[in-house]
């Protein structure tokens, strides 16, 4: 039995990532964003497809985030909770509103920085390396640190290297972004898929009778 408070707390937080479902669903969303940029690159500038794509990015991001959350919830309810138990991480109302404000402020700040840098440099060739670096930092400093899982360090490192490589590849920006999001999504899905398969193999579902004996 562990007696270290922070060890126990980290183990509890790590449980969210134990089944790989989050990576699988998040990777799927990244893959869709990658396809969006690929479609943007391949469609001609005045076509209907381009107009539809231009007007649907916000919908894709917001709708995709909600769909991902819904999918994760469904999969965890069917696969994880009957096997290893249910945990509601929840957040207080205060934490949620301050968190949302902080996320919004960072998003606005980063967007403004991107526009200023774009005007200053005169091109967006650096955008893939910037995006890769941003994902890498988030994966390594937030998710890997909170969960204590090494696979997120690897995924973060992959994002940074891929972003840098694409920036120096000479490919059009949209195409580079399509590859960055698409390959990051595939790597995340692969990692999540392997983790999920191992999780399902190691944790057979409990019989109903066994669950009924609780308390």
């Amino acid at each position: 039995m562990k007696d270290n408070f922070s060890d126990v707390e980290q183990r509890v937080k790590r449980y969210w990532y134990t089944d790989g479902i989050g990576e699988l669903a998040g990777g799927g969303l990244f893959l869709l964003i990658g396809l969006y940029f690929a479609g943007h690159e391949w469609s001609s500038s005045n076509s209907l497809v381009r107009t539809l794509l231009d007007s649907s990015l916000v919908l894709l991001l917001i709708g995709g985030a909600y769909a991902t959350r819904w999918l994760v919830n469904i999969l965890k309810t069917r696969l994880t909770y009957p096997r290893t138990g249910y945990v509601d991480y929840g957040t207080s109302r205060k934490d949620t509103s301050s968190g949302r404000f902080l996320t919004g402020a960072i998003a606005v700040g980063v967007s403004m920085l991107l526009v200023i840098l774009g005007k200053f440099v005169g091109s967006f060739d650096w955008l893939p390396s910037f995006t890769g670096l941003l994902f890498g930092i988030i994966l390594m400093t937030v998710i890997a640190r909170v969960s204590g899982l090494g696979r997120f360090f690897l995924l973060g490192g992959f994002c940074i290297i891929l972003g840098l490589a694409l920036s120096f590849s000479g490919l059009p920006t949209d195409y580079s972004l399509a590859l960055l999001y698409g390959l990051t999504g595939l790597a995340s899905m692969l990692s999540g898929g392997i983790v999920l398969l191992r999780y399902l193999r190691e944790n057979p579902i409990l019989a109903d009778a066994e669950r009924q004996n609780e308390r």
């Binding site: 039995m1 562990k2 007696d3 408070f5 126990v8 707390e9 183990r11 509890v12 937080k13 449980y15 309810t77 069917r78 909770y81 009957p82 290893t84 138990g85 249910y86 945990v87 509601d88 991480y89 929840g90 957040t91 409990l206 669950r211 009924q212 004996n213 609780e214 308390r215």
Partner: protein
């Protein structure tokens, strides 16, 4: 009696028991968790976990509710405000003791 020994005698015995301490520490990190998760994390048997939860519930430290997540029946446990305060006080007492003796 010396101050450091007095702190030990003043510790909340309900929380000081290792299995219950683990249960409340787990519950303090989340909004709620179900019986199966607590059983797996603590390594306790069903009967043992049930007995410890009953004691914590009687003391008003833990709230237990039978509910459903979709079609899945769950026994969900949640640390009450009183339980959070008790754990916080316990940790502070333990830290004071460690400072005095360390």
């Amino acid at each position: 009696m010396s101050d450091d020994l007095r702190i030990v005698t003043e510790l909340d015995r309900l929380i000081h028991e290792p299995a219950r301490l683990l249960i409340v520490t787990i519950l303090s990190s989340v909004a709620s968790a179900d019986f199966l998760y607590l059983q797996r994390e603590t390594g306790l048997t069903k009967g043992n976990l049930s007995a410890h939860l009953s004691k914590l519930e009687e003391a008003g430290y833990v709230q237990i509710e039978k509910t459903f997540k979709g079609k899945l029946p769950l026994t969900v446990c949640k640390l009450t405000t009183s339980g959070q305060k008790a754990l916080k006080a316990y940790r502070q007492q333990l830290q004071s003791f460690m400072k005095m003796t360390g």
